[in-house]
Symmetry: none
DNA sequence: CATTTTTTTGCGGTTTCTTGCAGTTTTAAT
DNA sequence: ATTAAAACTGCAAGAAACCGCAAAAAAATG
Protein backbone atom coordinates (compact mmCIF):
# COMPACT_ATOMS: atom_id res chain seq x y z
CA UNK A 1 0.00 0.00 0.00
CA UNK A 2 1.28 3.43 -0.95
CA UNK A 3 1.90 5.97 1.74
CA UNK A 4 -0.65 8.35 0.32
CA UNK A 5 -3.24 5.61 0.34
CA UNK A 6 -2.55 5.02 3.98
CA UNK A 7 -2.98 8.69 4.66
CA UNK A 8 -6.27 8.73 2.81
CA UNK A 9 -7.44 5.70 4.71
CA UNK A 10 -6.53 7.32 7.98
CA UNK A 11 -8.35 10.50 7.02
CA UNK A 12 -11.40 8.47 6.18
CA UNK A 13 -11.29 6.77 9.55
CA UNK A 14 -10.97 10.12 11.23
CA UNK A 15 -13.79 11.68 9.30
CA UNK A 16 -15.87 8.68 10.20
CA UNK A 17 -15.22 8.43 13.91
CA UNK A 18 -13.62 11.74 14.79
CA UNK A 19 -10.72 9.80 16.22
CA UNK A 20 -8.44 6.83 15.60
CA UNK A 21 -6.27 4.66 17.77
CA UNK A 22 -2.79 3.93 16.51
CA UNK A 23 -3.22 0.31 17.49
CA UNK A 24 -6.38 -0.01 15.40
CA UNK A 25 -4.61 1.44 12.40
CA UNK A 26 -1.75 -1.01 12.84
CA UNK A 27 -4.20 -3.88 12.61
CA UNK A 28 -6.25 -2.32 9.84
CA UNK A 29 -3.37 -1.45 7.55
CA UNK A 30 -1.01 -4.15 8.75
CA UNK A 31 2.18 -2.15 9.11
CA UNK A 32 4.39 -1.50 12.07
CA UNK A 33 3.53 0.93 14.83
CA UNK A 34 6.41 3.10 13.74
CA UNK A 35 4.99 3.59 10.30
CA UNK A 36 1.64 4.61 11.70
CA UNK A 37 3.28 6.93 14.15
CA UNK A 38 5.28 8.56 11.39
CA UNK A 39 2.19 8.84 9.22
CA UNK A 40 0.32 10.55 11.99
CA UNK A 41 3.30 12.77 12.62
CA UNK A 42 3.40 13.88 8.99
CA UNK A 43 -0.32 14.44 8.82
CA UNK A 44 -0.17 16.37 12.03
CA UNK A 45 2.61 18.52 10.60
CA UNK A 46 0.38 19.18 7.62
CA UNK A 47 -2.29 19.99 10.22
CA UNK A 48 -4.73 17.48 8.88
CA UNK A 49 -5.38 16.14 12.35
CA UNK A 50 -4.55 16.45 16.01
CA UNK A 51 -2.05 13.91 17.20
CA UNK A 52 -2.52 12.69 20.74
CA UNK A 53 -1.05 9.96 22.86
CA UNK A 54 -2.37 6.70 21.47
CA UNK A 55 -3.83 8.00 18.26
CA UNK A 56 -5.23 11.12 16.63
CA UNK A 57 -8.31 13.29 16.65
CA UNK A 58 -10.19 15.02 13.90
CA UNK A 59 -9.36 18.65 13.55
CA UNK A 60 -12.89 19.64 12.66
CA UNK A 61 -14.24 17.68 15.58
CA UNK A 62 -15.47 20.93 16.97
CA UNK A 63 -18.34 20.57 14.58
CA UNK A 64 -20.62 23.25 13.25
CA UNK A 65 -22.10 23.44 16.64
CA UNK A 66 -19.85 24.30 19.45
CA UNK A 67 -20.96 21.67 21.87
CA UNK A 68 -18.68 22.86 24.62
CA UNK A 69 -21.46 24.92 26.09
CA UNK A 70 -24.01 22.15 26.09
CA UNK A 71 -25.71 22.30 29.42
CA UNK A 72 -25.06 19.40 31.77
CA UNK A 73 -22.96 17.62 29.20
CA UNK A 74 -21.55 15.05 31.62
CA UNK A 75 -24.99 13.96 32.71
CA UNK A 76 -26.12 13.68 29.14
CA UNK A 77 -23.21 11.44 28.28
CA UNK A 78 -24.18 9.12 31.12
CA UNK A 79 -27.72 9.00 29.84
CA UNK A 80 -26.57 8.47 26.27
CA UNK A 81 -24.41 5.52 27.25
CA UNK A 82 -27.29 3.87 29.04
CA UNK A 83 -29.62 4.50 26.12
CA UNK A 84 -27.10 3.15 23.63
CA UNK A 85 -27.49 -0.26 25.22
CA UNK A 86 -31.12 -0.39 24.15
CA UNK A 87 -30.14 -0.36 20.51
CA UNK A 88 -29.47 -3.89 19.29
CA UNK A 89 -28.23 -5.18 15.98
CA UNK A 90 -30.91 -5.33 13.34
CA UNK A 91 -33.21 -2.82 15.00
CA UNK A 92 -35.11 -0.05 13.28
CA UNK A 93 -34.96 3.04 15.43
CA UNK A 94 -36.60 6.45 15.30
CA UNK A 95 -35.02 9.41 17.05
CA UNK A 96 -35.95 12.97 17.78
CA UNK A 97 -33.55 15.84 18.16
CA UNK A 98 -31.93 17.66 21.02
CA UNK A 99 -28.56 17.55 22.66
CA UNK A 100 -29.19 14.37 24.61
CA UNK A 101 -30.15 12.43 21.53
CA UNK A 102 -27.20 13.90 19.69
CA UNK A 103 -24.95 12.65 22.43
CA UNK A 104 -26.55 9.24 22.12
CA UNK A 105 -25.66 9.23 18.44
CA UNK A 106 -22.05 9.60 19.46
CA UNK A 107 -22.10 6.84 22.02
CA UNK A 108 -23.31 3.90 19.97
CA UNK A 109 -21.07 0.85 19.55
CA UNK A 110 -18.67 1.25 16.63
CA UNK A 111 -19.98 -1.54 14.46
CA UNK A 112 -23.63 -1.57 15.29
CA UNK A 113 -25.87 -2.66 12.48
CA UNK A 114 -29.16 -0.81 12.45
CA UNK A 115 -31.55 1.45 10.59
CA UNK A 116 -32.19 4.89 12.00
CA UNK A 117 -34.97 7.25 11.07
CA UNK A 118 -34.47 10.73 12.40
CA UNK A 119 -35.98 14.17 12.18
CA UNK A 120 -32.73 15.86 13.20
CA UNK A 121 -30.12 16.71 10.56
CA UNK A 122 -27.43 16.92 13.23
CA UNK A 123 -28.24 13.45 14.45
CA UNK A 124 -28.24 12.22 10.87
CA UNK A 125 -24.77 13.63 10.30
CA UNK A 126 -23.52 11.99 13.45
CA UNK A 127 -25.09 8.63 12.66
CA UNK A 128 -23.63 8.72 9.17
CA UNK A 129 -20.25 8.15 10.71
CA UNK A 130 -21.11 4.57 11.56
CA UNK A 131 -20.31 2.22 8.68
CA UNK A 132 -23.20 -0.15 9.32
CA UNK A 133 -25.99 2.22 10.15
CA UNK A 134 -28.47 3.13 7.46
CA UNK A 135 -29.70 6.64 8.03
CA UNK A 136 -32.99 7.96 6.78
CA UNK A 137 -33.64 11.61 7.34
CA UNK A 138 -37.31 12.47 7.47
CA UNK A 139 -37.77 15.66 5.53
CA UNK A 140 -40.06 18.62 5.85
CA UNK A 141 -40.15 22.15 7.14
CA UNK A 142 -37.05 22.89 9.13
CA UNK A 143 -37.46 24.48 12.52
CA UNK A 144 -34.94 27.18 13.29
CA UNK A 145 -35.42 26.83 17.02
CA UNK A 146 -35.36 23.15 17.64
CA UNK A 147 -33.27 22.22 14.60
CA UNK A 148 -35.56 19.45 13.56
CA UNK A 149 -37.94 18.93 10.69
CA UNK A 150 -41.61 19.28 11.55
CA UNK A 151 -45.03 19.98 10.08
CA UNK A 152 -47.65 17.98 8.28
CA UNK A 153 -45.29 16.49 5.78
CA UNK A 154 -43.16 14.99 8.52
CA UNK A 155 -46.16 13.65 10.37
CA UNK A 156 -47.64 12.01 7.31
CA UNK A 157 -44.35 10.29 6.62
CA UNK A 158 -44.28 9.04 10.18
CA UNK A 159 -47.62 7.34 9.58
CA UNK A 160 -45.97 5.26 6.94
CA UNK A 161 -43.21 3.81 9.04
CA UNK A 162 -43.03 1.31 11.83
CA UNK A 163 -40.06 1.09 14.13
CA UNK A 164 -38.87 -1.10 16.98
CA UNK A 165 -37.76 1.69 19.23
CA UNK A 166 -38.34 5.41 19.48
CA UNK A 167 -35.76 7.47 21.35
CA UNK A 168 -37.06 10.77 22.56
CA UNK A 169 -35.74 13.68 24.55
CA UNK A 170 -38.23 15.48 26.69
CA UNK A 171 -39.07 18.95 27.90
CA UNK A 172 -40.77 17.96 31.12
CA UNK A 173 -41.88 14.84 32.92
CA UNK A 174 -44.06 14.32 35.94
CA UNK A 175 -45.52 11.21 37.61
CA UNK A 176 -49.06 12.48 37.29
CA UNK A 177 -49.07 14.46 34.05
CA UNK A 178 -46.56 12.29 32.19
CA UNK A 179 -44.72 13.97 29.36
CA UNK A 180 -45.64 17.54 28.58
CA UNK A 181 -44.49 20.24 26.23
CA UNK A 182 -45.10 23.85 25.21
CA UNK A 183 -45.10 23.87 21.44
CA UNK A 184 -48.23 22.56 19.83
CA UNK A 185 -46.57 21.67 16.51
CA UNK A 186 -43.74 19.79 18.16
CA UNK A 187 -46.20 18.03 20.39
CA UNK A 188 -48.21 16.79 17.44
CA UNK A 189 -45.00 15.59 15.91
CA UNK A 190 -43.96 13.67 18.99
CA UNK A 191 -47.37 12.04 19.20
CA UNK A 192 -46.91 10.79 15.70
CA UNK A 193 -43.50 9.48 16.64
CA UNK A 194 -44.83 7.56 19.63
CA UNK A 195 -47.53 6.19 17.43
CA UNK A 196 -45.27 4.40 15.02
CA UNK A 197 -42.98 2.75 17.55
CA UNK A 198 -43.29 -0.60 19.29
CA UNK A 199 -41.30 0.63 22.28
CA UNK A 200 -40.55 4.12 23.50
CA UNK A 201 -37.55 5.29 25.49
CA UNK A 202 -37.45 8.73 27.06
CA UNK A 203 -34.11 10.34 27.82
CA UNK A 204 -34.33 12.89 30.57
CA UNK A 205 -31.91 14.65 32.88
CA UNK A 206 -33.02 14.50 36.48
CA UNK A 207 -33.49 18.22 36.56
CA UNK A 208 -36.61 17.84 34.43
CA UNK A 209 -38.21 15.33 36.75
CA UNK A 210 -41.36 16.57 38.42
CA UNK A 211 -41.94 19.44 36.02
CA UNK A 212 -45.00 20.03 33.89
CA UNK A 213 -45.81 22.19 30.92
CA UNK A 214 -49.06 23.13 29.27
CA UNK A 215 -49.55 20.53 26.59
CA UNK A 216 -49.87 16.85 27.37
CA UNK A 217 -47.99 14.48 25.15
CA UNK A 218 -48.65 11.16 26.81
CA UNK A 219 -48.83 9.51 30.19
CA UNK A 220 -46.18 7.34 31.77
CA UNK A 221 -48.02 4.12 30.91
CA UNK A 222 -47.27 4.64 27.26
CA UNK A 223 -43.54 4.78 27.56
CA UNK A 224 -41.34 1.76 28.07
CA UNK A 225 -38.02 3.10 29.28
CA UNK A 226 -37.12 6.12 31.31
CA UNK A 227 -33.43 6.90 31.21
CA UNK A 228 -31.81 9.41 33.56
CA UNK A 229 -28.31 9.97 34.81
CA UNK A 230 -29.37 8.84 38.27
CA UNK A 231 -28.89 5.45 39.82
CA UNK A 232 -31.83 3.14 39.18
CA UNK A 233 -32.64 3.07 42.87
CA UNK A 234 -32.40 6.78 43.46
CA UNK A 235 -35.27 7.98 45.57
CA UNK A 236 -36.16 10.70 43.11
CA UNK A 237 -37.31 7.99 40.77
CA UNK A 238 -39.61 6.20 43.17
CA UNK A 239 -42.68 8.03 41.99
CA UNK A 240 -42.10 6.95 38.42
CA UNK A 241 -42.78 3.27 38.88
CA UNK A 242 -45.41 2.28 36.37
CA UNK A 243 -46.64 -0.95 34.97
CA UNK A 244 -44.88 -0.94 31.64
CA UNK A 245 -42.14 1.50 32.48
CA UNK A 246 -38.61 0.28 33.07
CA UNK A 247 -36.31 2.77 34.72
CA UNK A 248 -32.72 2.67 33.64
CA UNK B 1 4.87 0.20 -27.77
CA UNK B 2 4.49 3.91 -28.42
CA UNK B 3 4.66 6.39 -25.64
CA UNK B 4 1.10 7.52 -26.16
CA UNK B 5 -0.11 3.95 -25.97
CA UNK B 6 1.68 3.54 -22.70
CA UNK B 7 0.07 6.68 -21.38
CA UNK B 8 -3.36 5.49 -22.42
CA UNK B 9 -2.74 2.18 -20.77
CA UNK B 10 -1.65 3.86 -17.58
CA UNK B 11 -4.71 6.08 -17.58
CA UNK B 12 -6.92 3.06 -18.06
CA UNK B 13 -5.30 1.36 -15.11
CA UNK B 14 -5.81 4.42 -13.01
CA UNK B 15 -9.40 4.92 -13.98
CA UNK B 16 -10.01 1.31 -13.22
CA UNK B 17 -8.25 0.98 -9.89
CA UNK B 18 -7.75 4.57 -8.78
CA UNK B 19 -4.11 3.69 -8.29
CA UNK B 20 -1.15 2.07 -9.94
CA UNK B 21 2.24 0.85 -8.80
CA UNK B 22 5.32 1.64 -10.85
CA UNK B 23 6.53 -1.90 -10.39
CA UNK B 24 3.30 -3.33 -11.80
CA UNK B 25 3.56 -1.09 -14.83
CA UNK B 26 7.12 -2.21 -15.44
CA UNK B 27 5.97 -5.81 -15.59
CA UNK B 28 2.81 -5.03 -17.53
CA UNK B 29 4.40 -2.92 -20.23
CA UNK B 30 7.81 -4.49 -20.07
CA UNK B 31 9.96 -1.39 -20.12
CA UNK B 32 12.51 -0.09 -17.69
CA UNK B 33 11.62 1.60 -14.42
CA UNK B 34 13.02 4.82 -15.77
CA UNK B 35 10.62 4.90 -18.66
CA UNK B 36 7.68 4.39 -16.36
CA UNK B 37 8.97 7.02 -14.02
CA UNK B 38 9.34 9.48 -16.85
CA UNK B 39 5.88 8.64 -18.13
CA UNK B 40 4.36 9.26 -14.74
CA UNK B 41 6.34 12.45 -14.42
CA UNK B 42 4.99 13.77 -17.70
CA UNK B 43 1.44 12.80 -16.90
CA UNK B 44 1.77 14.37 -13.51
CA UNK B 45 3.03 17.57 -15.13
CA UNK B 46 -0.02 17.50 -17.35
CA UNK B 47 -1.97 16.97 -14.10
CA UNK B 48 -3.57 13.80 -15.32
CA UNK B 49 -2.66 12.03 -12.11
CA UNK B 50 -0.96 12.35 -8.76
CA UNK B 51 2.52 10.95 -8.65
CA UNK B 52 3.59 9.46 -5.35
CA UNK B 53 6.52 7.44 -4.16
CA UNK B 54 6.04 3.99 -5.64
CA UNK B 55 3.37 4.78 -8.18
CA UNK B 56 0.52 7.16 -8.90
CA UNK B 57 -3.05 7.88 -7.79
CA UNK B 58 -6.12 9.03 -9.64
CA UNK B 59 -6.70 12.72 -9.41
CA UNK B 60 -10.44 12.54 -8.85
CA UNK B 61 -10.01 9.88 -6.20
CA UNK B 62 -7.76 12.24 -4.42
CA UNK B 63 -9.87 15.34 -4.70
CA UNK B 64 -12.73 13.54 -2.97
CA UNK B 65 -10.75 13.74 0.21
CA UNK B 66 -9.44 17.20 -0.44
CA UNK B 67 -12.98 18.43 -0.71
CA UNK B 68 -13.67 17.35 2.81
CA UNK B 69 -11.23 19.80 4.27
CA UNK B 70 -12.50 22.60 2.15
CA UNK B 71 -10.20 22.56 -0.76
CA UNK B 72 -9.77 25.89 -2.61
CA UNK B 73 -11.85 27.70 -0.08
CA UNK B 74 -10.99 31.17 -1.34
CA UNK B 75 -12.18 30.35 -4.82
CA UNK B 76 -15.36 28.90 -3.48
CA UNK B 77 -16.12 32.05 -1.56
CA UNK B 78 -15.76 34.08 -4.74
CA UNK B 79 -18.13 31.74 -6.52
CA UNK B 80 -20.57 31.78 -3.64
CA UNK B 81 -20.72 35.57 -3.61
CA UNK B 82 -21.47 35.69 -7.31
CA UNK B 83 -24.13 33.00 -6.97
CA UNK B 84 -25.73 34.76 -4.02
CA UNK B 85 -26.70 37.60 -6.33
CA UNK B 86 -28.94 35.30 -8.31
CA UNK B 87 -31.19 34.77 -5.34
CA UNK B 88 -33.85 37.47 -5.16
CA UNK B 89 -36.52 38.19 -2.59
CA UNK B 90 -39.54 36.00 -2.94
CA UNK B 91 -37.81 33.26 -4.84
CA UNK B 92 -38.21 29.56 -4.29
CA UNK B 93 -34.80 27.93 -4.59
CA UNK B 94 -33.59 24.35 -4.63
CA UNK B 95 -30.02 23.50 -3.71
CA UNK B 96 -27.81 20.46 -3.76
CA UNK B 97 -24.96 19.76 -1.39
CA UNK B 98 -21.21 20.12 -1.45
CA UNK B 99 -18.80 22.64 -0.06
CA UNK B 100 -19.42 25.28 -2.69
CA UNK B 101 -23.15 25.31 -2.06
CA UNK B 102 -22.52 25.35 1.66
CA UNK B 103 -20.38 28.40 1.19
CA UNK B 104 -23.17 29.99 -0.81
CA UNK B 105 -25.49 29.43 2.11
CA UNK B 106 -23.15 31.54 4.21
CA UNK B 107 -22.91 34.37 1.71
CA UNK B 108 -26.53 35.31 1.24
CA UNK B 109 -27.75 38.78 2.17
CA UNK B 110 -28.74 38.99 5.84
CA UNK B 111 -32.39 39.74 5.39
CA UNK B 112 -33.20 37.92 2.24
CA UNK B 113 -36.71 36.61 2.07
CA UNK B 114 -36.95 33.31 0.28
CA UNK B 115 -37.92 29.67 0.43
CA UNK B 116 -35.18 27.10 0.13
CA UNK B 117 -35.60 23.43 -0.57
CA UNK B 118 -32.43 21.45 0.02
CA UNK B 119 -31.21 17.88 0.10
CA UNK B 120 -28.26 18.78 2.31
CA UNK B 121 -28.68 18.86 6.09
CA UNK B 122 -25.58 20.99 6.43
CA UNK B 123 -26.98 23.55 4.04
CA UNK B 124 -30.28 23.44 5.90
CA UNK B 125 -28.55 24.19 9.19
CA UNK B 126 -26.74 27.09 7.61
CA UNK B 127 -29.83 28.52 5.95
CA UNK B 128 -31.72 28.26 9.21
CA UNK B 129 -29.61 31.12 10.52
CA UNK B 130 -31.39 33.59 8.25
CA UNK B 131 -34.50 34.98 9.92
CA UNK B 132 -36.53 35.30 6.74
CA UNK B 133 -35.65 32.14 4.93
CA UNK B 134 -38.03 29.24 5.12
CA UNK B 135 -36.09 26.01 4.94
CA UNK B 136 -37.51 22.74 3.74
CA UNK B 137 -35.27 19.76 4.04
CA UNK B 138 -36.08 17.04 1.56
CA UNK B 139 -35.83 13.75 3.39
CA UNK B 140 -34.80 10.27 2.42
CA UNK B 141 -31.86 7.92 2.63
CA UNK B 142 -28.80 9.75 3.82
CA UNK B 143 -25.60 9.29 1.89
CA UNK B 144 -22.52 8.89 4.06
CA UNK B 145 -20.19 10.00 1.32
CA UNK B 146 -21.85 13.04 -0.15
CA UNK B 147 -23.77 14.03 2.98
CA UNK B 148 -27.01 14.53 1.15
CA UNK B 149 -30.30 12.70 1.05
CA UNK B 150 -30.89 10.58 -2.03
CA UNK B 151 -32.86 7.67 -3.37
CA UNK B 152 -36.33 7.13 -4.75
CA UNK B 153 -38.08 8.88 -1.94
CA UNK B 154 -36.16 12.07 -2.55
CA UNK B 155 -36.73 11.92 -6.28
CA UNK B 156 -40.45 11.41 -5.94
CA UNK B 157 -40.68 14.40 -3.65
CA UNK B 158 -38.79 16.47 -6.19
CA UNK B 159 -41.47 15.65 -8.74
CA UNK B 160 -43.96 17.41 -6.55
CA UNK B 161 -42.20 20.72 -6.30
CA UNK B 162 -41.52 23.54 -8.67
CA UNK B 163 -38.82 26.08 -8.06
CA UNK B 164 -37.55 29.27 -9.65
CA UNK B 165 -33.88 28.43 -9.39
CA UNK B 166 -31.82 25.36 -8.83
CA UNK B 167 -28.28 25.80 -7.50
CA UNK B 168 -26.03 22.89 -8.18
CA UNK B 169 -22.40 22.05 -7.56
CA UNK B 170 -20.75 19.85 -10.12
CA UNK B 171 -18.20 17.06 -10.32
CA UNK B 172 -17.06 17.75 -13.85
CA UNK B 173 -17.95 20.01 -16.76
CA UNK B 174 -16.86 20.00 -20.35
CA UNK B 175 -18.01 21.97 -23.42
CA UNK B 176 -18.82 18.84 -25.36
CA UNK B 177 -20.02 16.43 -22.71
CA UNK B 178 -21.68 19.01 -20.49
CA UNK B 179 -22.12 18.01 -16.85
CA UNK B 180 -20.99 14.53 -15.92
CA UNK B 181 -20.70 12.48 -12.76
CA UNK B 182 -19.57 9.12 -11.46
CA UNK B 183 -22.35 8.00 -9.17
CA UNK B 184 -25.48 6.71 -10.84
CA UNK B 185 -27.77 7.37 -7.90
CA UNK B 186 -26.59 10.92 -7.47
CA UNK B 187 -26.88 11.48 -11.17
CA UNK B 188 -30.53 10.40 -11.17
CA UNK B 189 -31.11 12.71 -8.28
CA UNK B 190 -29.56 15.67 -10.02
CA UNK B 191 -31.63 15.00 -13.11
CA UNK B 192 -34.74 15.20 -11.00
CA UNK B 193 -33.51 18.45 -9.53
CA UNK B 194 -32.95 20.01 -12.93
CA UNK B 195 -36.36 18.84 -13.93
CA UNK B 196 -38.28 20.80 -11.35
CA UNK B 197 -36.50 24.11 -11.81
CA UNK B 198 -37.25 26.99 -14.14
CA UNK B 199 -33.61 28.08 -14.19
CA UNK B 200 -30.46 26.21 -13.32
CA UNK B 201 -27.20 27.63 -12.05
CA UNK B 202 -24.05 25.54 -11.91
CA UNK B 203 -21.29 26.46 -9.46
CA UNK B 204 -17.93 25.18 -10.53
CA UNK B 205 -14.34 25.93 -9.62
CA UNK B 206 -12.22 26.39 -12.69
CA UNK B 207 -10.19 23.34 -11.88
CA UNK B 208 -13.14 21.23 -12.89
CA UNK B 209 -13.52 22.86 -16.28
CA UNK B 210 -12.75 20.56 -19.19
CA UNK B 211 -13.07 17.39 -17.18
CA UNK B 212 -15.42 14.54 -17.92
CA UNK B 213 -16.65 11.58 -15.97
CA UNK B 214 -18.53 8.50 -16.97
CA UNK B 215 -22.17 9.42 -16.56
CA UNK B 216 -23.83 12.26 -18.43
CA UNK B 217 -26.11 14.51 -16.45
CA UNK B 218 -27.06 17.12 -19.00
CA UNK B 219 -25.61 19.24 -21.76
CA UNK B 220 -24.72 22.90 -21.50
CA UNK B 221 -27.87 24.05 -23.30
CA UNK B 222 -29.98 23.01 -20.36
CA UNK B 223 -28.26 25.14 -17.80
CA UNK B 224 -28.76 28.86 -17.49
CA UNK B 225 -25.86 30.11 -15.42
CA UNK B 226 -22.31 28.94 -15.11
CA UNK B 227 -20.51 30.45 -12.14
CA UNK B 228 -16.77 30.13 -11.66
CA UNK B 229 -14.20 32.10 -9.73
CA UNK B 230 -12.72 33.33 -13.02
CA UNK B 231 -13.32 36.63 -14.72
CA UNK B 232 -16.24 36.48 -17.14
CA UNK B 233 -13.90 37.10 -20.05
CA UNK B 234 -11.28 34.60 -19.08
CA UNK B 235 -10.15 32.60 -22.08
CA UNK B 236 -10.74 29.31 -20.29
CA UNK B 237 -14.44 30.06 -20.51
CA UNK B 238 -14.57 30.76 -24.24
CA UNK B 239 -15.60 27.23 -25.13
CA UNK B 240 -18.57 27.39 -22.82
CA UNK B 241 -20.59 29.90 -24.77
CA UNK B 242 -24.00 28.42 -25.42
CA UNK B 243 -27.34 29.80 -26.41
CA UNK B 244 -29.07 29.90 -23.07
CA UNK B 245 -26.02 29.87 -20.88
CA UNK B 246 -24.94 32.99 -19.08
CA UNK B 247 -21.43 32.92 -17.71
CA UNK B 248 -20.89 34.75 -14.45
C1' DC C 1 18.26 8.19 -50.04
C1' DA C 2 21.61 9.70 -46.84
C1' DT C 3 22.35 12.43 -43.12
C1' DT C 4 21.30 15.38 -39.56
C1' DT C 5 18.39 16.42 -35.74
C1' DT C 6 15.36 15.25 -32.24
C1' DT C 7 13.19 12.09 -29.22
C1' DT C 8 13.09 8.09 -26.64
C1' DT C 9 15.01 4.58 -23.94
C1' DG C 10 18.04 1.86 -20.92
C1' DC C 11 22.05 1.68 -17.91
C1' DG C 12 25.30 2.59 -14.08
C1' DG C 13 26.11 5.15 -10.12
C1' DT C 14 24.30 8.00 -6.51
C1' DT C 15 20.91 9.95 -3.55
C1' DT C 16 16.71 9.97 -1.22
C1' DC C 17 12.69 7.68 0.79
C1' DT C 18 10.50 4.23 3.39
C1' DT C 19 10.13 0.89 6.73
C1' DG C 20 11.02 -2.12 10.54
C1' DC C 21 13.92 -3.12 14.53
C1' DA C 22 16.19 -2.47 19.02
C1' DG C 23 16.93 0.22 22.86
C1' DT C 24 15.53 4.18 25.58
C1' DT C 25 12.44 7.69 27.29
C1' DT C 26 7.97 9.50 28.15
C1' DT C 27 3.21 9.14 29.33
C1' DA C 28 -0.88 7.84 31.76
C1' DA C 29 -3.28 5.16 34.86
C1' DT C 30 -3.45 2.67 39.03
C1' DA D 1 5.59 4.73 43.19
C1' DT D 2 4.89 1.11 39.89
C1' DT D 3 4.04 -0.54 35.55
C1' DA D 4 2.58 -1.23 30.98
C1' DA D 5 1.71 1.03 26.83
C1' DA D 6 3.05 4.28 23.68
C1' DA D 7 6.49 7.62 21.77
C1' DC D 8 10.94 8.77 20.40
C1' DT D 9 15.83 8.00 18.55
C1' DG D 10 19.23 6.17 15.63
C1' DC D 11 20.30 2.84 12.44
C1' DA D 12 20.38 -0.22 8.51
C1' DA D 13 18.46 -2.64 4.45
C1' DG D 14 15.80 -2.45 0.57
C1' DA D 15 13.18 0.17 -2.73
C1' DA D 16 12.47 3.86 -5.49
C1' DA D 17 13.87 8.22 -7.47
C1' DC D 18 17.18 10.89 -9.71
C1' DC D 19 21.08 12.31 -12.86
C1' DG D 20 23.96 12.22 -16.79
C1' DC D 21 25.17 9.81 -20.68
C1' DA D 22 25.11 7.23 -24.75
C1' DA D 23 22.80 3.98 -27.76
C1' DA D 24 18.76 3.34 -30.42
C1' DA D 25 14.77 4.84 -32.73
C1' DA D 26 12.08 8.13 -35.04
C1' DA D 27 11.46 12.33 -37.50
C1' DA D 28 12.99 15.88 -40.35
C1' DT D 29 15.77 17.77 -43.89
C1' DG D 30 18.33 18.63 -48.17
Amino acid sequence: MLKQERHDLIMRQINLHNRVLSSDLVQLINVSEDTIRRDLQEMSDASLLFKVHGGALSKSYHSIFDDSDVYAKEDKIVIAKKAAKLVKDGMVVLTGGGTTILELAKQLPENINATFFTISPLVALELAKYPNIEVILIGGLFSKNSQITYGGHVISQLYEINVDLCLLGTSAIDPKNGLTDTDWEINQLKKAMLNCAKKVAVLCISEKLNTSLRLKLTSLENINYLITELDVNDEKLIDYQAKELKII
